[in-house]
């Protein structure tokens, strides 16, 4: 009570702190429109939906707003000098004598923010253009609803990435979760889509709990949730874990693990990855934008943003690395045995996110950020080509049922942009994915301890699997003899005379644009570093100016000589950074070669191998488990869902039986059942009422006359022996 009183008193007494005090530079106030433009687009889409607009107006509105947002982001990037706070309005300002809780609605722009915002808005715009054509079957029905969802997502994601404090990040974090729920459940008439939306939302809630608790602990330990103040605190402690003892015991050790839980939920890592493959029930542009390129990298962003906290506990980053590495391997093995191409891409996303976490864990935040950046482009291309195929073949996604796309009329652009995406994902030499993945893999061998070498070899093996499953898709779908079967979403067309609809202008344009982006994403690696002693190109430059700078390679630490070489680690006696170029190229080529053999040169060999494996008792488990996704969903159902379901049924029984039955209805039923004994008296015959009246009167008279006798009789029988 006292504290609250004091709080209120100080609130009234002291004027709220002005945000402008925190600002060091000329603030580009127009930057807030990066946030507001998607919100405006949302409102206008809502108006379109209310007016039942039957045109492409919602799409055009969204495209214009998102494109303006992208242009503003570029302007912000070009004018960027150093980290700064851009105030919008005062949001939460609570101060009292012992401390304060301040969360302003303000933007914190540093290079990490800009790195993320560039691909969030930069991919949001072309994907909206793609959806203009892709969603046209829904014009007048769910068209406005779809673009409203995309706008909500862009608003929330900007909030998450650009927010000035952890509470704004949390706002965006919940916002993107909600947008994801909205868009996965877009086809709400389909039970599978509804179930997938619910699953995504509920699994994400588990992670969100971690984030909420982490924010609370950060505030209670460090007294602030604003990034710039946190940075000041860490700078004054030289990021030394020992000197944080003054902040009190267990909380500094709990914070990184709670943040990890949040990141693993949103970025689909073990044990919370199960929602992402199911999220493919949403429209494909959504899968490309939210569930591949942007939203799922929010976890990587969170950890990069709060990187200093992860140095507070010795095992925090190794845990991140191991979870990431294991997820990458598990998801890659599942992706190898799926037939639905969208689902393969979904597992591949989980797997690549695993690589990013591995990068964060082995102190290569630079590699993680670079991989986020390149992955955003090439995975968007892959999903959008899958979408184009799905769109053209009436919902067909089975890679066994479409073949030879490359030679079909009007499908060339789709086939070759898909090839670009596949090459990047497989880490083919000199593609963007090759450089970003190598940065992570090499660092696993450089950073000592915690079994990182094992993890490094495991990741190399996973990279080989990645090349295999990626080209399995491409060789099956785009090469080989021409042949196809239409899917089941025919919209009234006759399946016998079905002809695929090749994509038109908008889709082809976007595919080429993003595929070029995927190729050009290799360029930052070759850019000259402005900062001396730094290597790794443009991305390193961006990460170096952020809280995640600890994981940026510098020329002085990566090329060591003499005694320090022992700490540097090596692969097969070579410098890891150099060795990795050869190793990962070779591994990628092996995976690609195996895929070529089984899925183009001799397709029947794949089936023979599978039936051979299934025929032997000793090896039967392998294909079965991989095709059934290692039974993880079934495991969760058995261990978590079923007990909860039983508990729920039990509570329902108690509620229905004891609370409703006994207490509520029981008490209500009591007067009625008592009344039942007397109701025969109320028979409607006037004279029988007369009889009961007379009888009653007679009884009363008799009682009055013989009261004394009755009393003494009762006394003698009940209390017989007593005087």
């Amino acid at each position: 009570m006292n504290a609250v009183h004091l709080m209120l008193q100080t609130l009234i007494a002291t004027p709220a702190v002005q945000v402008s005090e925190l600002v060091h530079q000329v603030t580009p106030n127009w930057a807030q429109f990066i946030l507001w433009l998607p919100l405006i687009s949302l409102v206008l889409c809502g108006v379109c939906a209310a007016l039942k607009v039957k045109s492409k107006a919602p799409a055009l509105i969204t495209i214009i707003c998102l494109a303006s947002s992208f242009v503003l982001t570029l302007m912000l990037y070009l004018g960027y000098e150093s980290a700064q706070v851009i105030p919008i309005f005062d949001w939460i300002q609570v101060k009292w004598s012992g401390g304060s809780f301040i969360a302003n609605f303000a933007l914190y722009v540093d290079s990490l923010t800009l790195l993320w915002m560039r691909f969030v808005t930069g991919l949001g715009t072309p994907i909206a253009i793609y959806s203009l054509e892709y969603m046209e079957h829904a014009i007048g029905k769910g068209y406005a609803r779809f673009f409203a969802g995309v706008s909500v997502f862009l608003f929330a994601m900007s909030c998450l990435v650009m927010g000035d404090n952890l509470l704004m990040l949390y706002l965006g974090w919940e916002g993107v979760g909600f947008a994801s729920y909205w868009l996965i459940g877009y086809f709400y008439q389909r039970p599978a889509a509804v179930a997938a939306a619910k699953k995504a939302f509920i699994v994400n809630r588990i992670g969100d709990l971690g984030l909420a608790l982490a924010i609370y602990l950060i505030w209670s330990t460090f007294g602030t949730i604003q990034y710039d103040e946190i940075a000041t605190i860490f700078a004054s402690h030289q990021e030394d874990a020992g000197s944080f003892a003054s902040f009190g015991g267990w909380t500094v050790h709990a914070i990184p693990y709670l943040l990890m839980l949040a990141a693993f939920g949103k970025s689909a890592q073990l044990p919370l990855y199960v929602w992402l493959p199911d999220a493919m029930e949403g429209p494909t542009p959504v899968s490309a934008l939210i569930h591949a390129a942007t939203m799922v990298t929010a976890g990587v962003y969170l950890i990069a943003r709060t990187y200093p906290f992860f140095q507070l506990d010795d095992y925090a980053l190794p845990t991140v690395a191991w979870v990431g590495g294991l997820t990458a391997l598990l998801a890659a093995t599942i992706a190898m045995a799926q037939y639905d191409i969208k689902r393969i891409m979904a597992y591949s996303t989980v797997s690549q996110l695993g690589f990013m976490f591995l990068g964060l864990g082995v102190l290569s935040s630079y590699g993680a950020a670079y991989h986020v950046f390149t992955h955003a482009f090439f995975k968007a291309v892959l999903f959008l080509t899958c979408g184009a195929i799905m769109h053209g073949f009436a919902g067909q996604l089975d890679l066994r049922k479409v073949s030879g796309l490359r030679k079909m009329r009007g499908w060339k652009i789709v086939s070759y942009t898909m090839l670009v995406g596949c090459l990047c994902l497989a880490g083919f030499p000199f593609t963007s994915g090759y450089f970003s993945k190598d940065a992570i893999l090499a660092e696993a061998f450089v950073t000592p301890g915690h079994g990182f070498v094992v993890l490094g070899w495991m990741a190399i093996f996973t990279a080989g699997l990645t090349a295999y499953y990626t080209f399995r898709v491409w060789f099956r779908v785009c090469c080989g003899p021409q042949h196809f079967e239409a899917g089941d979403e025919l919209h009234g067309e006759d399946p016998a005379s079905f002809r695929p609809h090749p994509p038109r202008l908008a889709i082809n344009f976007v595919l080429i644009a993003i595929a070029s982006g995927a190729i050009l994403a290799a360029l930052p690696y070759f850019m000259e570093n402005e900062t001396t002693g730094l290597k790794g190109g443009w991305v390193a430059e961006m990460v170096n100016d952020s809280p995640a700078k600890k994981g940026v390679p510098s020329a002085s630490t990566t090329h060591l000589a003499g005694d320090d070489a022992a700490h540097h680690g090596s692969i097969l006696g070579m410098d890891p950074h150099k060795a990795m170029y050869y190793i990962s190229a070779v591994v990628g080529m092996i995976g690609l070669g195996i895929a070529f053999f089984f899925h183009l040169a001799r397709r029947e060999a794949a089936d023979t191998l599978r039936s051979n494996l299934l025929a032997r008792r000793a090896t039967r488990w392998l294909p079965t488990a991989m095709e059934n996704k290692w039974y993880v969903d079934e495991f969760y159902i058995a261990v978590i869902r079923t007990p909860l379901w039983i508990l729920g049924k039990l509570f329902a029984l108690i509620d229905r039986g004891i609370i409703d039955g006994l207490l509520v209805n029981g008490i209500a039923g009591l007067p009625r059942s008592v009344a039942k004994w007397f109701s025969p008296l109320h028979n409607g015959a006037v004279q029988s009422y007369g009889v009961s009246m007379v009888g009653g009167a007679a009884l009363v008279i008799l009682l009055m006359m013989y009261m004394t006798e009755i009393m003494s009789f009762l006394q003698s029988t009940l209390f017989g022996g007593m005087p």
């Binding site: 409607g684 004279q687 007369g690």
Partner: protein, 106 residues
């Protein structure tokens, strides 16, 4: 007690009152005609009135007679209402048997 006709005691009045009441009750319970049943209730009223007057006289208190005036007033009002009801009911069902109106219960 009944030895001298002129010296009627309180008991004689109360006995008459009691007889009237019992006749009323029996009549109300056994007759199958609403008008007669209604007359029987009037009889019971008068039994009460006689008892009031007698007891009032016995205690030299006029409130007994005051009570009787009230009873007569109430009885007159009630008679007007009841007879109107009886006439109305006869028009409705063409019968004055109380059992015919049994569905009035509930």
């Amino acid at each position: 007690m009944l030895a001298s006709f002129g010296a009627a005691t309180l008991a004689s009045y109360l006995i008459v009152s009691g007889i009237l009441l019992v006749i009323g009750i029996i009549g109300f319970l056994v007759r199958r005609n609403l008008i007669v049943m209604f007359l029987c209730t009037e009889l019971m009223f008068q039994a009460a009135a006689i008892a009031f007057v007698a007891v009032g006289r016995y205690y030299l208190d006029y409130s007994g007679q005051v009570m009787v005036i009230f009873i007569l007033t109430v009885a007159a009002a009630e008679a007007a209402l009841a007879l109107a009801l009886v006439v109305f009911m006869h028009r409705q069902r063409d019968s004055l048997d109380p059992d015919v109106y049994g569905e009035l219960a509930e």
